[in-house]
């Protein structure tokens, strides 16, 4: 054998290869066949299109915000408009992009395939959840078109209940409805993972992607109803003045924040856990090794989900909560940081003794590990009670959660989209262009959000339309970074669309990955597998894959 090639990419001979004659994309034709489908893969594609649409709307608002902050004076738009910009950016990015991003697209597409099932447990509820998402999205756009909303994505009472006359009710209903979409997705995943695993697929043979989604689903099902209740109370307070949050009627405005953060902190883990699942798959595949400490990684997902429910008060340390309850929540916050550290180190040690190649998904995964480490450790700053006093409600918070959500989750999402793109479409994306996009995204990201940590410690408050002139240099750096970041996100959009028609034919298993989803044609059949597979090996068993490939060669030969 000659020297090993620098890639594991294994494509069929392009002169003879063609897409499978029958697959889920060409199984039926016409718009209605998509809108009334109950195929989890088609629903995943519907989700992918809709969340990409909302991602670019939310991104446009981010661009406008950064443009306004180029100068200290409030000169581009009025204060009310600026407030609507960051509110819309937050609401769209969190509820309409980040929460559904990996679970509803990749999770939807892959979980049944990974556990060897033909579909999710409740295909029609799956479709319903997409429709609920679309209704939620449409209501949000309606509020936007009618004149916007300026509550901030946190809807803080009594500002949202008594002091604003924008479209709070429309937006709150939008999130209420979108929340049910998330609950149904979570419910579907839990039942599917419990009931529909193929023969031999024990809990500890499941890919870590499935474990991560299981943990995230528990959070979705148990957490989302609470934010739904909080928003209904805001609506009732506005409509009939029930007074739950109104101190003059004996209500407590802090109660709103307790209810809101009881969901919205676990929501962070709803967003990040599925991303961590993607990273596990990618790191294993491109280092040709079983994930180091499989059980530790699996249980750390569950630990994050459990602890994640008991840290919400760390959003309220300066809000006059009892000093002693703050102590307990700070301690629990420190505990929830540990499972994330465990995961990071396990991924690092998966590389050890591996045979590593550096395709685009792996570059995004490396980006994830670096940025998520910074995001996670800056979270420790905020969990540390005294430090939180200086840092909370400043740009430090903004930088911290963008490191976790954008540096972490969005990197993971892009890693996953590139990794499974050949499976979903049957075609490869252009490799060198996508590597460039990964690097551009990384550089743009660091430049955008690093200066914001410094701004935060200097005391620049978040959600400020105007700021003291001495903060300008750092803000200009941040805006410059955001421009680069914008390019980094537009590139995949363009070349992925291009690849749909012109990309190389991928074949069944271009990455030589071990998951069951790779052991079938790309794009898959509507029923996923011709016959239900039998899981006769552990997850990430590369020896099994090698023998299987060798067997096939002998049989065909």
């Amino acid at each position: 054998m000659s020297a090993p090639s620098p890639t594991i990419l294994n494509l069929p001979d392009q002169s003879t290869a063609q897409l499978p004659r029958r697959n889920f994309i060409n199984a039926e034709h016409g718009l209605l066949s998509w809108l009334f489908t109950s195929d989890h893969k088609r629903i995943a594609i519907l989700y992918l299109i809709s969340i990409t649409f909302f991602f670019f709307i939310g991104g446009a608002f981010a661009g406008l915000i950064r443009l306004e902050l180029l100068t200290p004076q409030p000169d581009l738009v009025s204060s009310d408009t600026y407030n609507k910009f960051f509110t819309m950016h937050g609401i769209i990015m969190i509820f309409l992009f980040l929460v559904p991003s990996v679970p509803a697209t990749l999770g939807n597409f892959l979980i049944p395939m990974m556990i060897g099932a033909r579909d999710l447990a409740f295909p029609k509820i799956n479709l319903l959840s997409w429709y609920l998402y679309v209704i939620g999205g449409t209501l949000t756009l309606t509020a936007l078109v009618l004149g916007g909303v300026d509550t901030g994505w946190t809807f803080t009472a009594p500002l949202s209940t008594h002091y604003l006359n924008t479209h709070v009710i429309t937006t709150a209903s939008a999130i209420f409805v979108a929340g049910f979409s998330s609950i149904f997705t979570g419910l579907n995943f839990i039942v599917t993972i419990h009931r529909m695993r193929c023969p031999g697929m024990t809990w500890f043979r499941m890919p870590l992607f499935v474990w991560a989604h299981y943990a995230a689903s528990i959070l979705m099902v148990l957490g989302t109803p609470v934010v739904a209740i909080a928003l209904v109370l805001v609506i009732l307070e506005r409509l009939v003045g029930i007074g739950v949050f109104d101190p003059t009627k004996g209500g407590d405005p802090l109660l709103f924040q307790h209810l809101f953060w009881f969901y919205s902190h676990p929501a962070v883990y709803i967003m990040i856990l599925p991303g961590m699942g993607v990273i596990s798959e990618v790191v294993s595949t491109f280092s040709r090794k079983r994930i180091f400490g499989y059980t530790a990684v699996a249980f750390s997902s569950v630990a994050i989900a459990l602890f994640g429910f008991f840290v919400w008060e760390h959003h309220m340390f300066i809000m006059g909560v009892s000093n002693y309850s703050a102590l307990i929540f700070s301690l629990l916050t420190m505990l929830v940081a540990v499972p994330s550290a465990i995961k990071i180190f396990n991924w690092c040690f998966t590389l050890q003794q591996g045979s590593i190649t550096f395709e685009t998904p792996m570059l995004y995964a490396f980006g994830f590990m670096g940025l998520f480490t910074i995001g996670g450790l800056t979270g420790v700053f905020l969990g540390s009670l005294g430090m939180d006093i200086q840092l909370t409600e400043t740009y430090f918070i903004v930088a911290h959660f963008h490191f976790v959500m954008v540096g972490g989750m969005l990197m993971a999402f892009l890693a996953g989209v590139h990794f499974w793109w050949p499976k979903m479409t049957g075609r490869m994306y252009p490799e060198s262009l996508s590597k460039l996009a990964a690097v551009v995204t990384f550089i743009g990201f660091i430049l955008t959000f690093m200066p914001q940590f410094v701004l935060g410690y200097l005391g620049m408050p978040r959600r400020y339309h105007a700021y003291p002139p001495e903060f300008q240099v750092l803000n200009v750096l941040s805006t410059a970074g955001a421009t680069i970041l914008g390019i980094g996100y537009l590139m995949p959009m363009i070349y992925l669309a291009w690849s749909l028609k012109y990309g190389a034919i991928a074949g069944d298993n271009p990455w030589q990955a071990t998951g069951l989803e790779w052991q079938t044609q790309s794009p898959p059949l509507t029923e996923n597998f011709i016959e239900i597979p039998i899981m006769d090996h552990e997850a990430y068993d590369y020896d099994w894959l090698e023998h299987k490939t060798a067997d096939e060669v002998t049989h065909v030969g």
Partner: protein, 347 residues
């Protein structure tokens, strides 16, 4: 701090000049900054460790030099290592942060109090001596100052980055924070909690003055009426003195010296009478009936502004004897009687 003061000074100066850190202008600031540097050190170690692992393994085990992976299941020892070491570090951060938190939110006994009222979109400062300021606050250096904060409408947050303090300003509830300024100068005051249209215009200037300058300032800018004097007026004009006369047979409890005492309520609970209790008892009297009295006091919700409540609270805090209460009462009763007397000479 374990490092030499000269080096510390140098570091602080250099960092200030390059504007990566705010000035240290309160006694808390050095404590906050040392925790900050510790946390940055942990972050750098963590990031370099992860980066070093990624880079080293990527180079040593890339496919070109290591074409066949060796399968390794895991290692309990390593798992324990990277569970326990981060946990230990995080626990240090927890303890250190908690100590700092209690320091910032526990005012020393000798601190003097200033009231802050937040409203969309301005800050009002009320000094007990009767100085009123808007979007400004003058404080002496070298003297612990406690702020008692309340919002008239939505959540605000009172932040002075150079002092490293911040406290949420909550509608319907007093919150407190304290600081001791060390360097005379002017500092930023920000509202850091999003509060509507002009959130970013809800800013002000903190002026720290030397004790002599501060004394001069207080004398020049007093309105002539202390908060307690204003409070006494309200106490009489709202008719509080009709019941709270201080007599044994009065319908309301005696309020002289009540501040700082412990009260037994009719519902059986014991409460400490502080600013928050006084304010609540005026607004929601039926929830705070002193044992032995009947719940006849009407609510004053919506009848007194937050500034008025501060005046009343400040008055009650300083009320030592009931002499003047009874005096005012007599005057006002004789005042009511006066028209009858003059009725005789009505044309």
């Amino acid at each position: 701090m374990g490092i030499s003061p000269v080096l510390w000074q140098f570091l602080v100066k250099w960092l200030n000049a390059s504007a990566l850190f705010p000035r240290e202008a309160s006694t808390i600031a050095p404590y906050m900054d040392s925790l900050y540097f510790f946390l940055i050190a942990i972050t750098l170690v963590g990031v370099f460790l992860v980066a070093a692992l990624l880079v080293t393994f990527s180079i040593r085990y890339r496919k070109a030099v290591h074409p066949v992976a060796t399968q390794v299941e895991g290692s309990t020892l390593l798992e324990a290592t990277w569970t326990i070491i981060p946990l230990g570090l995080f626990l240090i951060c927890f303890v250190w942060g908690a100590l700092l938190y209690f320091r910032i939110y526990t005012p020393p006994a000798n601190s003097s109090n200033i009231y802050i009222v937040g409203k969309q979109w301005m800050w009002k400062a009320e000094h007990p001596g009767g100085q009123h300021e808007i979007n400004a606050l003058h404080v002496p250096v070298g003297q612990p100052i406690q702020l008692t904060l309340i919002s008239q409408d939505v959540f605000h947050s009172f932040s002075i980055p150079e002092f490293r303090i911040k406290r949420e300003v909550i509608p319907g509830r007093y919150s407190t924070v304290w600081f001791e300024a060390t360097t005379p100068g002017q500092y930023h005051l920000f509202c850091t909690q999003y509060c509507g249209t002009d959130h970013s215009a809800m800013i002000g200037t903190i002026t720290a003055l030397s004790p002599a300058d501060y004394k001069k300032w207080t004398e020049q800018s007093t309105s002539g009426m202390s908060l307690a004097q204003n409070g006494e007026r309200i106490f009489a004009s709202m008719g509080c003195n009709a019941c709270h006369t201080g007599n044994a047979a009065a319908r309301g409890p005696n309020l002289a010296g009540v501040y700082g005492s412990r009260l037994r309520l009719t519902n059986g609970s014991d409460v400490l009478v502080n600013e928050a209790y006084l304010r609540d008892a005026i607004l929601n009297p039926s929830q705070h009936v002193t044992s032995g009295y009947t719940p006849i006091m009407p609510t004053y919700q919506g009848q007194i502004s937050e500034d008025g409540l501060i005046d009343l609270v400040e008055y009650l805090k300083n009320l030592i004897s009931n002499d003047r209460v009874q005096q005012t009462l007599t005057t006002s009763q004789s005042g009511q009687a006066a028209p009858q007397a003059s009725g005789v000479v009505k044309p």
